[in-house]
Symmetry: C2
């Protein structure tokens, strides 16, 4: 079995080990929740001071031009594009993932409705286990459009083959499932959707910055995602949206705010959509939060997604091996796929007292999180998690499970 | 004529003068653009460090509960409510003004459509001179709903009497016009809309924190507004939305994200709208920008809107008097109403070379702004603008206009 000393050696041999120095992590804390809120890049504190104290406090209104505030969604979008296999002018960082999904879904439905060959397609297909807001947004849009659209939920990805049919307008999937950590085959599912005449929207919330993503190779239509998980952009930082270049000239959605106008400062009384990626913008953006996204993106310039993926898989392999070998006597069940090609960068185990176990881990300075029902979730951000962290986390988990209390059945008193 | 010494005396006699010490304003700068981007409250820098360094950097994911991030939109909404005559649980700070207007307008149209007596009403009435994004949002929503709704634009507020008729579903107005600074009579116009059977939405972008606002007294239905102008919440800080208590249980809009769910952490696959003000929320919010809003709101606890209004009118009266007496030989035309009851907290003058004049003022450390066509706009935030600032600003304006260059016709080379 792998020893703690083996893990220390793995860290010494790790080419990416120095990337951890670009993050400010609290001493002694093992942070396995970067899949929910990424740790703070070292640059972020200085960047926040620059934006708040200099740009806002001293330069005031002139910063909209001089500090490039107005173009930040585009500038950050171009930086982020490289991480998801997109080109410049195809991505903006703006609004929330929910709102960006609303835009993408609206645009996709309109594209389908405007073509006589696809106008009768009224179904949006997604997974029941998708992150709830994705499903809610589709429900909200279809209900309001009130033109016969509806949402078809599948219980497993395997059902997608049959569920995507000639009634399907759009397939909308999350690349890595937020609970199970299952990674879907983006290229195959996109090709399948297209073969059946549907458009394909990907939610990259749990994959951008965590696994290699290549929107161009997948030939998908739209993607959205968040910047505050593996991209380390800060709490609730604005999300992103990618529009395939072939759709840019017709990217149309109901949130027609002034930042999406072809000439926003001409103050015209009629909306004229920009024919660039600016059409995915709506209103004025929260500049301080937006600016911090850059500190997170800049760390990725020091490495590449292939190297990060190798380390991510090594970390999750190690975690699964250690939990199963050291905690196998307890009712701990892996729900994340073992096969690398089906695994993202977080690992989930089911345990009947999962909530209490996660609370006990947090008290021992191991931060994971809990998702209903019974899921203990642990994220492994390869930018800053060490192999020895994995060993220490499992060591504490084993100690907790070996203690009597959890067998006695402590129940959750709240939801994290 | 008022002398500089008179202005110094007015500042000495000003009960609100000490409020300026709660802002960090650059030495020597006369900042007359708080109507576009409010100055930075002194507390904001420390607050940004706390959120970025401590809450994000050290406490990480636990801050969602421990630091109250998840409830910030509600907590800030309750603080803001007092400034607009609303009660607790009626306001949230979230998303952008454009997106909040989309929610309010959607909800208003649905309320009208759900009542057989008003279901045939298909018109949204607003001003052509409203801030463009308001008009664009109405255009976007009506076009997408595609149920015969359309937007009726009036050229002057006087036309509203006739334009609001039995076809009108919603009247949507901005309380203080962004160009002219004209203040509308909220109570009378709301009563007029209601008498004609329409619902009333107010955009308070240029009035919240600048003029007394009393949503309860006006008996309006919905309001939206921004926090980065007179509320000094920081660049692009999240906006707010108010829902009249009588509409809370049926406040429904298409942006049904997980933060608006009755049980967001239950992770259910069906959307069930919260019956509280949380139904106006959609997705995860940009916490750093959001948290800074509090620093701006806290300054208002030191005074009240009636006192601020008295000072605001004294400042704008003085500015108008001085410009007209000292610059009267030049083609400078007041477009802001002289009557107090029709004036907000900014003053606009037309000048054929307005853009060049504003640029020249900026070079002399007087920050105003320019809006097409020909409008020089000057905002007077009573929290931090002094009477002597008004005198000095006009002194420099007079010097610029007295110089030959602007009579020779310098044309704008860009739009600010």
């Amino acid at each position: 079995m792998t020893s703690r000393q083996d893990c220390i050696q793995m860290d010494e041999d790790d080419d990416l080990a120095s990337l951890r120095s670009h993050f400010d992590l609290p001493e002694g804390l093992i942070y396995l929740d970067g899949n929910s809120l990424g740790a703070r890049p070292r640059q972020a504190a200085a960047r926040a001071r620059e934006v708040v104290e200099q740009q806002w406090g001293t330069d005031l209104i002139t910063s909209w031009n001089r500090a490039g505030w107005f173009d930040l969604p585009i500038k950050l979008g171009d930086k982020l594009a490289a991480l998801i296999g997109a080109g410049p002018g195809e991505v903006v960082v703006t609004d929330s993932t929910s709102i960006n999904l609303f835009k993408a879904l609206s645009a996709a439905l309109r594209i389908q409705a405007s073509d006589p060959r696809s106008a009768s397609r009224k179904v949006i297909v997604t997974e029941r286990s998708n992150f709830p807001t994705d499903v809610y947004i589709a429900q909200g849009l279809t209900e309001w459009l009130d033109r016969g659209y509806h949402v078809r939920l599948v219980d497993t990805p395997e059902e997608l083959d049959a569920a995507v049919d000639r009634e399907t307008a759009v397939v909308m999937l999350t690349h890595v499932n937020y609970r199970s950590g299952r990674l879907l085959d983006m290229n195959a599912l996109t090709a399948h959707a297209h073969r059946r005449g549907a458009l394909m929207i990907w939610d990259l919330a749990h994959s951008a910055g965590a696994v290699p993503v290549d929107m161009a190779a997948a030939d998908a239509d739209f993607a959205v995602g968040c910047t505050y998980k593996y991209l380390n952009g800060g709490p609730g930082a604005p999300a992103f949206i990618w529009v395939a270049p072939r759709h840019l000239s017709r990217f149309s959605h109901p949130l027609s705010g002034w930042w999406g106008h072809a000439r926003p400062f001409a103050m015209e009384s009629g909306f004229e959509r920009s024919d660039t990626i600016r059409s995915a913008l709506c209103g004025t953006q929260p500049i301080v939060s937006l600016a911090l996204v850059e500190a997170g993106l800049d760390v990725f310039a020091l490495t590449d997604m292939a190297a990060l993926r190798r380390k991510s898989l090594a970390l999750t392999d190690l975690f699964i091996d250690l939990v199963e070998s050291r905690c196998g006597a307890h009712p701990v069940t892996l729900i994340t796929p073992r096969a690398h090609e089906h695994r993202g960068s977080h690992v989930s185990f089911e345990h009947p007292h999962g909530y209490a176990v996660v609370r006990a881990l947090i008290e021992r300075d191991v931060i994971g999180d809990y998702r209903e029902p019974h899921i203990m979730r642990f994220g492994f951000t390869p930018l800053y998690i060490r192999f020895v962290d994995v060993w220490d986390a499992v060591d504490r988990l084993a100690a907790i499970l070996d203690a009597e209390a959890f067998e006695a059945g402590i129940e959750p008193d709240a939801v994290t």
